[in-house]
Symmetry: C2
Subunit: 336 residues, 2 copies
DNA sequence: CTGTTAGCGCATTCAA
DNA sequence: TTGAATGCGCTAACAG
């Protein structure tokens, strides 16, 4: 009746390092060293006792306390604009799995377009992460570095900053292959559907397309600005002059899907009747029968492997500044 | 030349609460209270001085230290099996945005099928989160509670545990509507394509379909077990007896897309020629022209709003045990 | 309302 | 190698 613990399920305090040390009959310092990941001077005898004590007590180090003392928390931040593009599904699940596989946990930060991201970020645990993976392009490297305690930033948004390492998809390569494919099939004129043209990555893509088209003597009829979405592709498709256009290149698969649907309506086929169509990103949805869109993309596993390698490397991320390029390639399907 | 700081960019230590207190001419306790989110007794005068001092120093509280002392870190964990279903895109972007909007950061945990999740979890910062949102069904409520320091678990995986609050989609409602729709259109026989049948949620769905079909006198020709994926729907579609089957109900939109593609091949239309087709989840992709699949789903905003309301509520999650039901409804499109 | 004191749990000096 | 002592930065309890 007057049981002070009421019906609460026995809030037994978790064992701390002191408990382990006491049970093992050593000082806390010894216990700390014995349980450290790095090699620390401890006699084999005592190390053994400590480990056994920790085991029997079910001891778990408090990662907050460890972080406070050692400035490392086995935590990684992933900064994104948002996660609602089709290509995100293919990437983040894999990335998450691989990062966890090296023993780190992931804190996801959605920067969004508006964003007083910096203030939000610095007030939270995310400020103390061991590394930040930057996919968003809403901030330059310098300000991103400012958002984290230790400058350990990995740029994955296409920005090459001398102060930070990066892994970038070599999109130019895939674009050249795709345009060469079109040229080989007799295409003489083309239209380009783009995404957010303020993005540096997008600007680089556009430049690659222009150069490749020019090289093959393909006439660039125009550039229409969309926003990567299916809806924008669907809408812009009205402005395609099917009489004159040999190929439509889109900087996202979703836009290409919109274009396909707009022009398939008149011809019940799985590709546009009058022009060739190329997407971008090689999302897994292009494996669905209804959208057999020729695309451009990198091997996601290779891309993620590079990221994890750098994360897990011996060199502190903050001192590292290697610029890795992952190749992309053209992936032919029915529409190309 | 012998500058001890070398060329390092001036590693000025971040100002701490002590610095702020000193500059403001008050004790650290006062500074702490003045900067606290909760109302704490401080004279207006000193509060003002503290805030000004913090401002001029550019002070940011160290969330690790705060967490260590106060046992609360403004951090939420999201536990998922994985994030590669189409329906995930619609949900997690919104959820992430809304959780950040209430000032909390999100740590994503991918449990996966294998999973010594518990050990991984407890060794990281995630163990100390204020709340865990559980989407995975690879663990029951009791063991999930054990995975977090404070028992603050919100079940979102369809499991109703008396010890934890939950937000669940009332799938039965939408299923009844969908089946009624079919019955109204003269359907007399149906086939059910299911996902992972070990899942409790899936079992409940199947039961709902059986009951609804029986109620309308629709003959259930069989149940085929898939895995929610497009590929499984595509494969199982071969086993549909188009002569006898009035409708095919799938427990995911992706499977329905596979079925549609398998049977559209023979009839160049945007729906199967011989039977009606119903999906599940109402993913945004069903708004693409090629997959106008009638579906069942909840209002994502309402669903997320309930989650955030509970997270942000005054009642400690660990003491809360409300069971919220969010309605689903039938969403008619071309195939239904 | 205020300041002092004592932790939170761990890692790391330093002297032995 | 060891252990005592100190500090990471902050919040909470206490006495005033």
């Amino acid at each position: 009746m007057t049981d002070p613990t009421r019906d609460a399920p026995a809030p037994v305090p978790a064992p701390t390092l002191s408990d382990v040390a006491a049970l093992a009959g050593v000082s806390r310092a010894i216990a700390s060293r014995a349980l450290s990941a790095q090699p620390r001077p401890v006699s084999a005898d005592k190390r053994e006792r400590v480990l056994r004590a920790a085991e029997t007590l079910g001891f778990r180090p408090n990662s907050l306390a460890r972080g406070l003392a050692s400035k490392t928390v086995n935590l990684v931040a992933i900064l994104v604009n948002h996660i609602h593009d089709l290509s995100d599904l293919d990437l983040f699940d894999l990335l998450l799995a691989e990062i966890q596989a090296i023993g780190k946990q992931v804190i996801f930060i959605r920067v969004g377009a508006g964003g007083d991201a910096e203030s939000f970020l610095r007030d939270g645990v995310a400020y103390h992460v061991d590394a930040a993976l930057v996919f968003t392009d809403f901030a330059d490297a310098a300000s991103v570095r400012r958002m984290f305690r230790n400058n350990a930033v990995l740029m994955l948004n296409g920005h090459h900053d001398p102060g930070a390492p990066s892994v970038t998809m070599d999109e130019d390569q895939g674009i050249r292959e795709a345009v060469a494919d079109a040229a080989g099939k007799g295409v003489r004129s083309a239209l380009l559907l783009t995404g957010r043209t303020m993005s540096l990555v997008e600007q680089a893509r556009i430049a690659s397309y222009r150069a490749a088209l020019a090289r093959h003597g393909i006439d660039l009829l125009g550039e229409l600005a969309g926003d990567y979405s299916y809806a924008s592709g669907r809408a812009l498709a009205d402005r395609i002059d099917v009489e004159r256009t040999g190929a439509v290149f889109c900087t996202s698969d979703a836009m290409a899907m919109g274009v396909l649907d707009a022009h398939r309506a008149h011809f019940p086929q799985h590709r546009p009747a009058r022009f060739r169509l190329y997407g971008f990103d090689n999302v897994s949805l292009t494996q669905f029968d209804a959208y057999p869109i020729s695309s451009i993309g990198a091997d996601k596993r290779a891309y993620v492997a590079q990221i994890v390698r750098i994360l897990n490397g011996p060199a502190p991320l903050a001192q590292n500044s290697e610029q890795v390029l992952v190749p992309t390639r053209f992936v032919p399907r029915l529409t190309g």
